[in-house]
Each structure stands twice: as C-alpha cells, then as structure tokens.
C-alpha cells in the first residue's frame, strides 16, 4: 500500500531528528524496564513465598528469641504438618561488603519445608551428617569459588567469635525466581556452642517455620499457635510467610512507590518529546498532505498516515529499548546481586513497554493529526513555497 510506503519513508526521512527521537524512546523504555525490574526484584521474596507456610516469631519484635520448647507444642497443634526452626546468624565472611544472608536451621525439617531449594541426595546426606557442615546457593558458591569440602569461616556479629564450617552441598533453585545466594548451617552447632560459652542464650530460636496440611488451614493454625502461647513469657506472632516477607518490604514501601512513579514519569516525558517531533514533522508536511487531499485522499487516510508514522517511530525505539533491557538488567543484577538476588526482566514489564509505546504513539499524534485534518486544502497549499 502506497500510504504505508509513504509513512515508513516519512518516519525515517529526517534521519537526525528521527534518530534522536528513537534514541530518546529507547533510553526511556530501557529506564522504564530497569525500574520495573528493580520493583520486581524487591517483591521477588514475597512472590516466592508460599501461602501454606507460616512464620512464628516473638510478638514483641523479631529481635527477641523464642524458647526451643515451643517446638514440641506447635507440632501438636491441629493442622500442622511439620515444624522447623532457626536463627538469623548475621555472620560476616572476611569483610562486611561480602554480605549474604546466613541462617542456622534444623536441617532435615527445613529442607523438607523448602522443596524449592534443591539439593542432591548424597549432598543432603552429607550435610545432615556433619554438625559443622553448611550448604550454600549456587550463585553464592560461585561468587566465592567455594567447593564441596572447603572450610569457610564466618565472623559472628550477633553470636561473637569465629565460626568454622565445612561445605557439604550446593543447592539450586527449583526455578529462576528462587534465591540462590543463601547460606544454611546446623542450629545444633550454634546451640551447643552457646551452651558452653554463654548458657543464658542457649535453647533459643529466632523463628519457627510451620508447614500446614492444607493452605486453607493456615489462618486457623496461625490463630491456634498464638493462642497456645498467650500469657506465657514469650508471646508469639504467627503469619503467613508472604505476610512476613511483606512486612520487611513495607518499611521500604515509600521508596518502591517513588520508583514506580518515576518509571511512569519517564514515559510521560518521552511522550512530550515524541509529540514535539510529530508536531514538527507534520507542520513541515502540511503541503504534502494538502496535495494528497487535493488529489482526493480523505482526512481519515491522512490521519492514519500520521498515526502510523508515530507508531513506527515509537515501536522502533521501544523494540530497541526492550532488547537492550536484557543485557542491562544482567549487568545491573550482577552489580546489585547482594541486594537483589533475583533480578529478572518479567513478561509483564515487556508488555508494559509495548503498551507504553502504543500510548506514546497515540498521544503524540493526536494534535498533529487533528491539525492536518482541519487545515483547508487552499490554506495548506498556500504554505508551500
């Protein structure tokens, strides 16, 4: 179709202007994509959390412990399938900037409750058998070049001293959304050391993880657990893992909202830029469009050409931006892996990119198209020369 030919050639006729506009859209889409990915990374913990797992912690604050004796009582509550427990260890590997999450847990129950951490049976067996053993996620092991059998020392912060461990396994995430940067070792190792050197801090856990028999039982089980320890020395607060993780994010919710707003502001700005380009090009072509109208082309087909040209420019920039988002996110995720263990460009982000491109194209072309339709032929012809 000739109109298609004209609009494509028009779109790239002024190479510098189209090039700069397309570059602008590319950068905007890239920025939009990365900001959306940051938000996605922020929420990835929540997304991965299971609704059939509950977390029980001290009702006053997460920093206060619970007695290990609760383990037995929780196990007997109706609807509970399995209970595990652990502590946030907060150890440092060589230097503080090498941050990664590390926990001590009860290994057998923990690995059962978290099937998304995949460990080969021999490694699992070796880990369970060695009181000083630990397992690390694939990415974490790769980051420090740890191999099975390596000895690794963490410097305790909450629990002072140098703690030696032997690597017994490397777990993989069941899929790409699973964090592979965590470090687990035996709660028993921590507890026995505490018994010896600071008995007042022994037999305590930071949290209980509870697997319920069916997801729909979760709310009732949570209530029963908290009721069981009502008026005891350490009252509990039990919530789904999802709610628990969300609680952490809520603290930074304002920042997430700000990022979200910025990502849309970027789109608004580029919309104005493209609108300006389209206004300039159509003003230059008022004569061309007047000729076409003179020859008998209707206002509708003129408007279609302007919208089409706007769409060609917006989509070209958008596709370039979408393609660049992947390597950019990879580089970004690499430098920020400490903060965002999961940094993936989601399908939703790509859809939003495309929707944004269509909106940009549409709004940028409205006024120029209206103008081109309205200008009378005689008026348009007089502008030539």
């Amino acid at each position: 179709m000739l109109q298609l030919k004209i609009l494509f050639r028009n779109a790239f006729h002024n190479k510098l202007r189209s090039g700069l506009t397309i570059l602008g859209i590319t950068v905007a889409v890239l920025a939009f994509g990365l900001l959306r990915t940051v938000i996605g990374a922020w929420y990835s913990g929540v997304e991965a959390a299971s609704a059939s797992r509950l977390v029980t912690r001290n009702a006053i604050s997460i920093i206060f412990p619970l007695p290990i004796a609760y383990n037995e009582k929780i196990r007997q509550i109706e609807g509970v399938k399995l209970v595990s427990y652990g502590n946030w260890f907060g150890g440092i590997y060589i230097d503080e900037k090498n941050f990664f999450p590390n926990f001590c847990v009860e290994p057998r129950t923990y690995m059962t409750i978290y099937p998304e951490f995949v460990l080969s049976p021999p490694e699992q067996k070796a880990f369970f058998a060695d009181r000083k053993g630990f397992v690390a996620g694939r990415k974490l092991a790769a980051r420090f070049g740890w191999k099975i059998g390596d000895q690794v020392t963490l410097k305790g912060t909450i629990f002072p001293g140098n703690w030696d461990f032997v690597m017994r396994g490397i777990y993989r995430g069941r899929d790409k959304t699973i964090d592979e940067t965590q470090f687990f070792f035996h709660w028993d190792y921590l507890n026995e050391t505490m018994k010896r050197f600071s008995p007042g801090r022994a037999d305590q856990v930071g949290f209980y993880m509870i697997a319920v028999k069916r997801p729909d039982l979760a709310p009732d089980v949570a209530l029963s657990v908290d009721k069981a320890f009502k008026n005891s020395l350490a009252e509990t607060l039990t919530e789904t893992e999802k709610a628990f993780n969300q609680g952490f994010i809520a603290m930074s919710g304002a920042i997430v909202t700000a990022i979200q707003m910025v990502s849309f502001v970027v789109i608004l700005i580029i919309m104005a830029v493209v609108a300006n380009t389209m206004a300039m090009t159509t003003r230059e072509r008022i004569g061309d469009y007047a000729i076409m109208k003179t020859l008998g082309f209707g206002g509708g087909s003129i408007a279609a050409m302007i919208f089409g040209e706007s769409l060609v420019i917006a989509l070209t920039g958008c596709l370039a931006g979408m393609i660049l988002t992947f390597p950019a996110a990879k580089a970004f995720g690499h430098t920020l892996s400490t903060y965002f263990p999961i940094f993936l460009v989601s399908a939703q982000t790509l859809w939003l990119d495309l929707i944004a491109a269509f909106l940009i194209a549409f709004f940028a072309a409205i006024i120029p198209a209206r103008h081109a339709i309205r200008v009378g032929i005689a008026e348009g012809l007089r502008r030539i020369g």
């Binding site: 000739l2 109109q3 030919k5 004209i6 050639r9 028009n10 006729h13 004569g287 061309d288 000729i291 076409m292 109208k293 003179t294 020859l295 008998g296 082309f297 209707g298 009378g376 032929i377 005689a378 012809l381 030539i384 020369g385």
Partner: protein
C-alpha cells in the same frame, strides 16, 4: 464565425470573501463566465486580484460564499466534502507553481498516487503511470526522487500526475512561475500539445505574458472583478 462549443464550466454570480478576525475581506465580486470544452484559458491579473482563489473554487478545493459552479454538468457547489474529494479525484488535474511532488516518492510513484483512489490493479496503475511519464518524455527518470530532478523535470512529473487520471479539466496555477525560460517554454509547449492534440480543457493562472500568449483565450481579473468579454488571444 465558428460554431460556439458547449460550455464545460459554468460559473454564475460567484462571491467570495476571506475573514480576518471579525473583518470580511471581499476577494471575488459577482464573477460569471463560461469555459468552453477544449479551451485553453489564461487567467491574468495583478497580484492579489483573486486568481488563485477563483482557480481553487472551480477546481473544488475551496468554497464560495454564494453563486454556483457547474463542471461537466455537475453543480460542485452543492457537493459535500467527501463527494467533492471524490469528484476532484475523477475530474480535475492539478499543476502548481512549486510542482508539489511528494518528496519521499519516486517519479513513477508520484504519478501513481492519484490512481490509488481508483479501482485499477497494481499493474494497471504502473502501466498508466509509465504511459503518462512517456508523454512528458521522462520515462528514463521513473525511479528518481524529486530532489534528484531539475525544476523543469519535476514540473513535467507533476503534469504526468495531473493527466494520468484523464481528468475533465486541467488547472494550473503559475506553472512556469518558478522556472527558467527554457524549462518554462518546454512546459508551455507540453500544455499546448495536451490542449491541441488531446483536447484537454486547461485553465492556467499566470503573470507571464509569454505564457499567456500560448493560451487561446485570455481573461483578466482586477481587484476581484472580471472583464466581461474574453479577449481572443492576439497570437
């Protein structure tokens, strides 16, 4: 005296004014005249006398305040905007001072442009366009873009575009106004041939007495008034 030819254009009591803010500026006053079939008419007059305005009205790209214009029996002042666009596509060929080719289209594509509003197939369109380009001796420039051609060549492409639909009348607004003498002569000779050999009715606005000499009939417009009798061209 020769038998008077039937009129192909009948212009009756045309008034036209432009509106600047609340002020109406009258441009054409009670214009009435006929154009015979096969005529080559030159419309002359000082700048601002309303020549372009009159040409636009009889070509159906502007509207009169009052009066009627019939072309080939159709009262074009009674047509809606869409009907008028359709009518122009079938009945009028346009030639402008600044050629007005579409810059992103090759010569042959420019000539094909008006054929896209007809039922012709892709091949027929190409054949018609090539024939029209041959008539203006530009078949070897078919794949050139306007900016790769001289003014005279561009105007010849414009003529090919104007005749490719075989329109009832050709209108030309200062077709040689932007050309050097040699190119202007070429264009005028071409229009003369279209009139003489193919019997095309041509209405040409011009400032150039040499251009006017090619026409068979002269009409003068002055401050929006037209002389009553067409002057037979002294040449």
């Amino acid at each position: 005296m020769a038998e008077p030819k039937p009129s192909i254009v009948e212009i009756r009591n045309i008034f036209k004014s432009y509106h600047r803010e609340s002020l109406a500026v009258p441009v054409l006053h009670d214009i009435t005249f006929d154009i015979a079939e096969g005529e080559f008419l030159a419309l002359m007059g000082p700048s601002g006398s309303g020549k372009t305005t009159l040409l636009n009205l009889l070509a159906g790209i502007d509207h009169a305040d009052s009066g009627t214009i019939r072309v080939g029996g159709v009262d074009i002042t009674a047509l809606s905007e869409t009907e008028l666009a359709h009518w122009r596509a079938n009945n009028v060929g346009f030639i402008f001072q600044f050629y007005n080719l579409i810059p992103v289209l090759k010569a042959v594509e420019n000539v094909e442009l008006p054929l896209h509003l007809t039922a012709l197939s892709r091949r027929e369109r190409r054949e018609h366009a090539e024939t029209a380009l041959r008539m203006v001796s530009l078949e070897h420039r078919m794949d050139h873009y306007p900016k790769e051609m001289s003014g005279g060549e561009q105007q010849r492409v414009a003529i090919a575009r104007a005749i490719v639909t075989d329109p009832t009348i050709l209108v030309a607004d200062e077709p040689t106004g932007d050309l050097d003498r040699v190119s202007a002569e070429e264009i005028l000779a071409m229009m003369e041939r279209l009139n003489a050999e193919m019997g095309k009715t041509i209405v040409m606005v011009t400032h150039d007495p040499r251009a006017a000499q090619r026409a068979k009939v002269l009409r003068l417009l002055d401050k929006g008034y037209m002389n009553d009798a067409p002057a037979q061209n002294p040449l």
